[in-house]
Amino acid sequence: MQNTRNAALLLVLILALLAGCTAPAVAPAAPAGGQEAPGVQPADAAAQPQATGGQVVIAPGQPIRIGGSFALTGPIPDPGKDIRQAAEIAIDDLNAAGGVNGFLFELVAEDGACSGDQGTVVGNKFAADPTIVAVTGGTCSGETFGLKPILLNARIPFVSPSATNPAVTGPDCDVCNRVALSDALQGVVDADFVFNQLGLTKVAVMHDNSDYGKGLAEIFQNAFIELGGEVTHFEGVQVGDTDFRAALARIGASQPELIFFGGYSTEAALITQQMKETPGLENAKFMSDDGAYTQQYLQAAGSAAEGAYMSFVAGDQQADKLAAFTEAYVAKFGVEPSQLGPFHGQSYDSVMLIADAIKRVAEVDSNGNLVIDREALIAAIRATEGLEGITGTLTCNEIGECGAGGVQIFVVENGEFKQVAGFGL
């Protein structure tokens, strides 16, 4: 009796622990339309940056250190690795071109794990390191929400290559920038594609409860209803779950024509497979987003993926630059970047954008040190205009949206993505 009681008590303890672990996964995501992300309070007056702003002084021979928050573990490790490697290529290219006044760049890569918690950890690490000049990242939106308040407070500007939740940037955050395009665009284009081009009016929306997935799903849902369509279900699942049959059976009961999923590749692949076994959904179409637009999705979903739609917020690819980049990438890492993930161009450009701003503000003082004024750098990144990158001509607007390009829509055909609509076609 006593033993069983102890076991029960222990179970409750473990559950409490587990609840603590998974809490960020179920935290509500940012509402659509550029509002503040929940859980990320705007820094109050007392926490606002000290007026001095400070300077980074780099002694001769020392590198210019750029932090990087990459999702190397978590739900999308392959795209995270791709983004990191693309950033390394950018650093190599910068150093091959002589750096800034003879000072070379160095990438300080950390694992942001695609989670808000880990984003906070990485942010604190960078904030505590006075040699970090700027940050490229985070990979995921949730991760970036973790970084954002800390970097804002520490006056370290960041440029995210791939965080697409609308609330990542905003008028209240002068250090927040991104090269990726906001989901405010993607969700609306997706809804328009489903309603007007596929001609479907009855859909179900699913999401993975991440800041990114749920945010995008909400935008899609709102846009679809606005167009006059019907959304039968709005169901969340948990990242890491592998059996979605119960949720799908429920959705199947209302027989939607398409399921839109906001989330990452593993869950998207499992839903694609299990849909085929669910009464009412055998012939329903599947559509997902740039988080699932990966080789990993194709591999995991197998033949069930045929006919699935994916959207991707693509840059305006500059063919010659991309070719040179791919060549350097394959030479260094032995793998085609597109085998790992879609965001390498954005990642390369995000580092280039930071470096370009540094070049504009860095000065050499009388002792031969390189001096970078933090406030000047923040302003310089925001002032970027007409920078030629792999993903197009980058110009930052007043809230830090620096990306070029538009939304592309792909269909899976014979195990490969084939573009069917959208930008650049």
Partner: protein, 357 residues
């Protein structure tokens, strides 16, 4: 204000009985509320009967997997009175071994041969998963638990949690974070249809195999000589040793049994859900442990019953109560808490508590 002093003997008893009745009334109230909710919300959706049947089938398959894993917890608890928290990782390693065996048999072309050959290969794949799990389980026992046999009860528990993390992150380092994907051979891909209900072949195989394995386990424990020894050791280690039973051998045998079931569960789940990764045993392990506690930990039929019940609740609960499926875990853990409040030793725990008291 009057101060009354009571003699201490009769009152606690009366108070306990009052609390007991309050608890009973509360239980009935909760039950009525749940039924009312199911009647007004769940039934109002007017799902067809085929919907409930397919949800129940999903639940039974899930329950079958939970049962195989829960038995590992309950067997070890019954004998060592410790919770083997690394058991979920034993399942995961079985899943990985099954994946590599599958790759091997695909490479040598057995999975495109005749149905009999494919079935034989599948058996070997499950066998490979079981073997890997058994090796892991036995090593765990030898390295992480046996040296701590005489230590206070919390010590092996901490060691188990450490072993769990060690195994998870070793697999992470060796095989990376990306999930491994099982490719179902044509023989077991898809399923058949009964009316509006779709039944996947893998689901049938999982349920049937778990019933068979549970029956085999029951026979081993109840009928074989080693089973008798296991029960004796569970009753009283010291006395069993005096009777000439090799306690260490019995404990190793218990780990072998539990891990073999876990390995089978890992491989079958790999075929069913197609994905295995370094942390896929973690949540599964917790759920199975919940199932074991639900049924009364240490009790073998209890673990089976608790697991099937938990699987059914997870599959049917959200639809019946009319709440989003993402809250399925809340429902199952609420049921656990409620059952522990009303039956602190689990559904079938009484038998055990009498024995152990």
């Amino acid at each position: 204000m009057t101060v009354t002093t009571y003699s201490s003997t009769p009152l606690p008893r009366r108070r306990k009985s009052a609390a007991h009745w309050v608890l009973r009334a509360l239980g009935v109230l909760i039950l009525v509320l749940v039924i009312w909710r199911v009647y007004t919300v769940g039934m109002a959706e007017n799902y067809p009967a085929s919907f409930w049947i397919s949800q129940a089938l999903n639940g039974l398959v899930l329950g079958g997997v939970y049962a195989l894993v829960a038995l590992g917890y309950t067997l070890v608890y019954g004998i060592l009175l410790m919770i083997n928290f690394a058991h979920g990782e034993v399942v995961m390693i079985g899943g990985f071994a099954g994946f590599f065996a599958l790759q091997f048999f695909t490479a040598i072309g057995w999975l495109e041969g005749s149905a009999a050959l494919v079935a034989f290969a599948l058996l070997l794949i499950v066998g490979a998963g079981m073997l890997a799990s058994v090796l892991t389980g036995v090593t765990l026992e030898r390295v992480a638990y046996r040296p701590l046999r005489g230590a206070p009860r919390l010590v092996p528990l901490i060691s188990a949690i450490g072993a769990s993390l060690f195994l998870q992150y070793s697999v992470l380092l060796i095989f990376g974070v990306s999930p491994r994907v099982y490719q179902k051979p044509a023989l077991i891909a898809g399923g058949f249809r009964v009316g509006d209900v779709f039944v996947p072949y893998t689901g049938v195989i999982i349920f049937a195999t778990s019933l068979l394995l549970m029956l085999a386990l029951y026979l081993i424990v109840q009928r074989s000589k080693l089973g008798k020894a296991m029960r004796a050791v569970a009753e009283d280690k010291g006395t069993a040793a005096l009777m000439g039973i090799d306690v260490n051998q019995v404990i190793v045998f218990t780990f072998i049994l539990g891990s073999a079931l876990a390995g089978a569960a890992g491989v079958m789940l790999g075929f069913h859900n197609t994905i295995v990764k370094f942390n896929s045993g973690f949540i599964l392990g917790l759920k199975a442990f919940t199932a074991a506690v639900l049924g009364g930990i240490g009790n073998i039929p209890g673990a089976m019953m608790g697991a099937l019940l938990l699987g059914l609740i997870e599959a049917i609960g959200p639809s019946a109560l009319g709440i989003p499926t993402e809250y399925k875990d809340i429902i199952s853990f609420s049921v656990l808490v409620l059952i522990l409040i009303f039956r602190p030793s689990g559904l079938l725990g009484e038998v055990l508590s009498e024995k152990k008291a």
